[in-house]
């Protein structure tokens, strides 16, 4: 009886997994077909991958877009992690009522949708001469209330005894943050890194508005361009989507274990 129940569970889970994985499978398979074969519903791998690849390279600046996407995402992730963790740490460790009030204001800022601040932001950046610059691209999302909250929540489980011990041993406050907090909070950093990297990699609206040079194209912009014409080549489109997905998938798998720990808030 128990065996039967387990079997049923597995069957159910296998079906659900197949349904979840199918779009990814279809994306990969479609990248190996001509556009018309994709339209007609090809489900098994074809032999048009290299031709699609050649056509994609001829039609778009893939290497430029990849380079830009990596550059923006990596710089964004490093800066955002440092600034937000420092802030989250500060809010929790040097905790008082005034900081709680500031934190509440920060959390309120999470409720304001980006499109609502886009026009004033554009105005400001245009006055500062930040249009078409990497700095202009990065600034609005370099510090997010969500990340600060994430770090603050995990700093809550950071044992104060260690803090006291470190102070007694003569470490200054910044070194405590650098040498003790950061290594202890690896899993939180991993999940924050995944979230930030994915957000930066996929960001579309703001970069599109502020970056008008064709040399600053990113992968999501490249994919959007491919879908725009009167006639869409679905084979090339799927290949571009596949290429665009690979880096985030790799990063997710590399940090998967820490990500799960970070989300559940484990501290060793």
């Amino acid at each position: 009886m128990i065996k039967l129940r387990t079997a049923l569970k597995y069957i159910f889970l296998i079906i659900v997994s197949l349904i979840s994985v199918f779009p990814l499978y279809w994306m990969a398979v479609s990248a190996t077909h001509t556009s018309i074969e994709v339209i007609r519903g090809a489900l098994l791998p074809g032999n048009y991958l290299f031709k699609n690849f050649a056509n994609l390279l001829a039609a778009s600046d893939v290497s430029g877009a990849m380079t830009n996407s990596f550059k923006y995402s990596i710089v964004m992730t490093v800066l955002a992690l440092f600034i937000c963790s420092l802030a989250g740490y500060g809010f929790e460790i040097y905790h008082d009522k005034a900081k709680d009030a500031i934190m509440s204001v920060l959390l309120l800022a999470m409720m304001v949708p980006f499109v609502a601040i886009m026009i004033p932001l554009f105005q400001t950046f245009s006055k500062w001469g930040l249009l078409n610059t990497t700095l202009g691209f990065l600034l609005p999302t370099i510090s997010t209330p969500f990340l600060i909250m994430l770090f603050r929540q995990s700093a809550r489980s950071f044992p104060h005894d260690i803090l006291e011990a470190a102070r007694l041993d003569g470490l200054n406050e910044f070194h405590i943050f650098l040498r003790i907090f950061i290594p202890t909070m690896k899993s939180t950093y991993a999940s924050a890194a995944i979230i930030t990297f994915m957000g930066a990699w996929n960001s579309y609206l703001w970069p599109k508005v502020i970056m008008t040079e064709k040399t600053s194209i990113t992968m999501p912009m490249l994919v959007a361009n491919l879908k725009e014409g009167y006639v869409t080549d679905y084979g090339i489109l799927m290949l571009a989507v596949l290429l665009c997905s690979i880096p985030t998938v790799i990063i997710f798998f590399l940090l998967q274990k820490q990500f799960a720990e970070g989300i559940t808030g484990a501290v060793k």
């Binding site: 339209i39 900081k99 500031i102 610059t133 370099i142 510090s143 006639v231 869409t232």
Partner: protein, 441 residues
């Protein structure tokens, strides 16, 4: 004390980061300025252009560059591939922020959005009538109307959105019909033939996207009617043409002559995977039809059915299409105007060279060249281009206005409700209310 100072520094660092997002601190000066600061290339002979389709309008711009370079060897174009939706977002953001310096010298604008944008952001457009560089009488009047606001021309018409009815002649033949049987007909006749074709071959004559009002708007324009009156007020309640179009739409669906699909990709699939016997759309749809190379010789093109008994009762209409605009903030307006005047409004050579990509001229002199008489094998050897130029010249004007898209979307919702059994008159009232609400009336 030390602890407090450090705490203040840490919170300060955070605030700098955050405020930079809300428009506060210039202090954060990390990063670089690699992309440079100006959008338009510094070179005086270079124009920056935004358009979106490499196979189509980008290709046309590249060809135009070559044509213009014959007399101006130093001339160059910096074409930035920008999807239409992004041009709209960038224009809206720049216009609302009052800084048009990010706009290129020339940008392509969807015809249906032209009036809306010109009225909303007048500074973003150059008055082309004033330049006296163009002879606008040489463009198809139905097409020219989109970029003409208060009798002033703000755009140079580019691609042709003339509506075609394309049919699979082999499927029609199975049911005992020829392309001539579907030429110069009205919608009643279309439905009659459609039912017969469906009964004999199992294939509907038409497929449409369920959430779009394209076919209804096509019917409407074929009669010369619009959703707005000349003053720009909604003309929906009591609009007999719209009512008739919606009733025809319902009949098409109920008779099975038209099949509804969920999205654009499915719509293309119905044609490429041979589940329908035809389609009605802007002539740019030919590109997608021709993607199925194995169907070569099996298609033919004719005009669309007319809405009998109402308005101009023509068999011609328009769907989509775009026009070039010169930015009002461009520092090289004269060059941009001269370039457009000598290419898109003055070169048959240009139009001949972009014809193979499916870019059909709305500049009428282009239609008289030999290239336009070419017989297209895919469409059974028809002189397709000549036919389309002729259709374009007969298309009634359409009055779009500022709230065209809002009205069009409301009509699409009404069409869905009517198919589900709602009363046409009450749905028209809802559409009018929706448009009035959008217009804050």
């Amino acid at each position: 004390m030390k602890k407090r100072i450090l705490s203040a520094i840490m919170i300060g660092a955070m605030c700098t980061g955050l405020l930079s997002g809300c428009g506060g601190g210039k202090a954060a000066s990390t990063g670089d300025s690699s992309a440079g600061n100006n959008t338009a290339a510094a070179d005086e002979n270079t124009l920056t252009v935004w358009c979106w389709d490499p196979a189509f309008n980008i290709n046309a711009m590249k060809e135009a560059e070559k044509v213009y370079q014959a007399d101006h060897p130093d001339f160059k174009l910096n074409i930035v591939e920008t999807p239409w939706a992004d041009i709209q977002t960038k224009l809206s953001t720049a216009g609302a922020a009052g800084d048009l310096s990010t706009l290129p010298d020339i940008f392509l604008m969807q015809d249906n959005a032209f009036a809306k944008n010109q009225i909303s952001f007048p500074d973003a457009f150059t008055n082309l009538t004033e330049t006296k560089a163009f002879d606008f009488t040489q463009f198809a009047p139905g097409k020219l109307a989109y970029s003409t606001i208060n009798n002033i021309n703000y755009g140079v018409p580019f691609d042709n959105g003339t509506v075609i009815a394309a049919y699979r002649t082999d499927i029609l033949e199975q049911a005992g019909y020829k392309i001539d049987d579907l030429t110069d007909i009205d919608w009643d006749k279309y439905i009659e033939i459609g039912k017969d074709v469906l009964a004999k071959t199992g294939k509907p004559l038409l497929s449409c996207q369920a959430n779009e009002a394209d076919i209804i708007m096509i019917m409407l324009q074929s009669t010369g009617a619009s959703l707005f009156d000349a003053e720009g007020n909604p003309n929906i309640i009591g609009n007999e043409t719209l009512k008739k179009a919606l009733e025809t739409y319902k009949e098409l669906k109920e008779s099975g002559v038209m099949v509804l699909v969920n999205d654009w990709d499915q719509y293309i699939t119905t044609m490429n995977a041979e589940t329908v016997a035809g389609t009605i759309n802007g002539c740019w749809i030919m590109g997608s039809i021709r993607a199925a190379k194995d169907q070569s010789g099996k298609w033919a093109i004719t005009n669309l059915p007319k809405l009998a008994g109402i308005g101009e009762q023509s068999n011609y209409s328009n769907n989509g299409g775009s026009s070039w605009a010169v930015s009002g903030a461009s520092k090289k307006k004269d060059l941009a105007v001269d370039f457009l005047a000598k290419t898109f409004a003055g070169s048959t050579k240009l139009y001949d060279s972009i014809l193979p990509s499916g870019a059909l001229a709305t500049w009428l002199p282009a239609g008289n060249t030999e290239a336009y008489s070419e017989k297209v094998e895919f469409f059974g050897g028809q002189e397709v281009y000549k036919l389309l130029t002729d259709f374009a010249s007969k298309t009634p004007k359409n009055n779009t206005g500022v709230y065209y898209y809002e009205a069009r979307d409301a009509v699409a919702v009404a069409a869905t409700n009517i198919i589900a059994g709602a009363d046409v008159d009450s749905e028209l009232k809802t559409v009018q209310d929706t448009v009035n609400f959008a217009m804050s009336k």
